[in-house]
């Protein structure tokens, strides 16, 4: 999901280069309408998407992706526009098709941004709270389907932490926060290894 902004960007950058803002706004609006968040919210809460154990988690994820998409898009567009057009022209002459250009030029040159997005995205997911709280509290804490287990929707990382905290399990919450830090660090390290631009 954290790669979503990149995919969105690829969709829009070529044809809508100068209209990126417009594009992302238009796109989100359409998307929200499609899933029923655009105004008439009957199918979203309680009996709808957020009340459904199978759809609740993806819905929250989608909301978070959309929330981060604009920021990601701006970072990616800036990075891509910083690549001189002549580099792509040189590639055209060298025989590159669109895929070659994406694979051998664009992606390597926006690697630092990818790295940044992956790390901040991962951490945002691990510590997610606002979205979960806002989207599920209203439904009376519906259940979510995670890896075959039915959990209270609230049992998700950041929110879980809050929940432990609010229930008075301070020690458990503190310990849990350390585990989260460890996981975040580990994932960041792996990302850095994988995406390290070979200097």
């Amino acid at each position: 999901m954290v790669y979503m902004p990149d995919i969105l960007l690829r969709l829009f950058n070529d044809s809508y280069r100068d209209h990126a803002f417009l594009a992302s706004r238009h796109f989100s609006k359409q998307l929200l309408k499609k899933i029923g968040l655009g105004g008439e919210s009957g199918i979203v809460f309680k009996d709808g998407i957020l009340g459904n154990p199978y759809l609740c988690l993806p819905a929250i994820a989608l909301a978070m992706v959309l929330k981060g998409a604009g920021f990601g898009m701006i970072l990616f567009i800036t990075a891509i526009q910083n690549i001189p057009t002549s580099v792509y022209e040189a590639a055209d002459i060298d025989g590159a098709n669109w895929w070659h250009k994406l694979r051998y030029i664009t992606i390597p040159l926006v690697k630092p941004i990818i790295l940044f997005m992956v790390i901040t995205g991962t951490i945002a997911c691990l510590t997610a709270f606002t979205e979960i709280y806002a989207m599920t509290t209203n439904t009376g804490g519906s259940t979510v389907q995670v890896l075959g287990h039915t959990l209270k929707s609230a049992n998700l990382a950041g929110y879980h932490l809050y929940w432990n905290f609010s229930e008075g399990y301070y020690g458990k919450a503190a310990a849990f926060s350390f585990v989260l830090l460890g996981i975040a660090l580990l994932i960041s390290l792996i990302n850095m290894k994988l995406l390290k631009s070979d200097k």
Partner: protein
């Protein structure tokens, strides 16, 4: 056999500006052809049309006898060196040069061989593992050329390749490009705004202005017989002195008359101008065809005060006011040191047979 032919090619950008108009040109196989002209005259556009980076609005373009109006850049078998080099910033020198071969599915060994060959020619052997940002301007320039060479294309395109280099390096790279052309024998189309580059490198030069071809010819032809005042002034350094004058014929003597000078013409020039009597013209004299002397009884000289002398060692530039009608100070160039002094009156002796006469508006050569 890889000539490039333009047939009535025009280019109109989206904003409706006609940048190139009715462009006809035949670039010969193995020729080193240079497009030269002031900035904004459409040189790059012309080159980019050959490369396929700009669409042709009308007319036809042929490479090696094949019409390529709608052929993709990669299928035109051309290579281009950009003004800003356009190296792939994240790839090493070697990877930069190998990229096109890799995309074309050339085998690893073959790539290795070709890259080594090119880097040998260009003296890049020690730099193969470096990234572009670890190279100097001149080295980047070489890598850009290397990237073009490995492909052994039919036509090389250069867009102002030396304009980002300092003066000394520019001279050095100029020589290397000349050597490269001798070595490879590939057709080269080269764009520059620098007439010195054009004069020193080209087999033939195309002088352009405002999207139109002004003249096509060898460096010497352009220098000795400019077809209009623009070419006259553009080619040669310091540039040609020009002044409005009138052709006067009296008692069989043809002379060039200005408000404050008369220069008697003779020989072929006189003959060619006989039936232009009374006509207003534009006269041009190159600095090396004016010889400031202490004294001269010749009718081909005018007496003028020497205003400034610039000694350059092997040559000197002598500045003087030819006429109050002249739009700039005239300059004479003489070998070594000059015999005249600043502030003294000197006889400016003209090589009469080297005076260029254009129509009044400068659009046509009369003699």
């Amino acid at each position: 056999m890889a000539g490039v032919i333009f047939k009535k090619v025009s280019k109109i950008y989206e904003n409706k500006t006609m940048v190139i108009q009715d462009f006809n040109l035949e670039i010969r196989d193995k020729e080193f052809l240079i497009l030269v002209g002031p900035s904004g005259c459409g040189k790059s556009t012309t080159l980019r049309m050959i490369a396929g980076l700009e669409k042709i609005s009308s007319g036809d373009l042929f490479i090696d006898g094949t019409k390529i109006n709608d052929v993709a850049p990669k299928d035109r078998d051309i290579a281009m060196v950009f003004q800003n080099y356009a190296l792939y910033p994240h790839m090493s020198v070697k990877e930069n040069m190998a990229f096109s071969l890799k995309l074309r599915g050339v085998g690893r060994e073959e790539i290795e061989k070709k890259v080594l060959q090119a880097s040998e020619i260009l003296g890049l052997n020690a730099l193969l593992e470096r990234k572009p940002k670890q190279l100097s301007g001149g080295q980047r320039q070489r890598v850009a050329m290397g990237r073009a060479i490995v492909r052994s294309p039919k036509v090389f395109l250069f867009d102002e390749p030396l304009s980002n280099l300092d003066a000394k390096l520019r001279v050095q790279m100029r020589v290397e490009i000349a050597k490269l052309h001798k070595l490879l024998g590939t057709t080269i189309v080269y764009v520059t705004h620098d007439q010195v580059e054009a004069m020193t490198l080209a087999d033939r030069i195309v002088v352009m202005k405002d999207g139109f071809i002004q003249q096509i010819g060898s460096p010497l032809e352009l220098y000795e017989k400019p077809l209009n005042a623009f070419v006259g002034a553009f080619i040669g350094s310091p540039s040609m002195n020009q002044i409005p004058a009138k052709i006067v014929v009296a008692q069989g003597q043809v002379s060039l008359q200005g408000e404050d000078f008369v220069i008697a013409l003779s020989g072929e020039k006189a003959k060619a101008l006989e039936n232009h009597a009374g006509e207003e013209v534009l006269a041009g004299v190159r600095p090396q065809n004016i010889h400031p002397k202490k004294a001269d009884k010749n009718k081909t000289s005018v007496l003028r005060e020497v205003e400034v002398i610039e000694p350059m060692g092997t040559e000197s530039y002598i500045y003087f006011t030819m006429s109050k009608n002249a739009d700039r100070t005239w300059v004479a160039r003489c070998d070594g040191m000059t015999e005249v002094q600043e502030g003294e009156k000197a006889a400016m002796v003209f090589d009469i047979d080297k005076v260029h006469i254009f129509s009044k508006d400068g659009s046509k050569r009369l003699a």
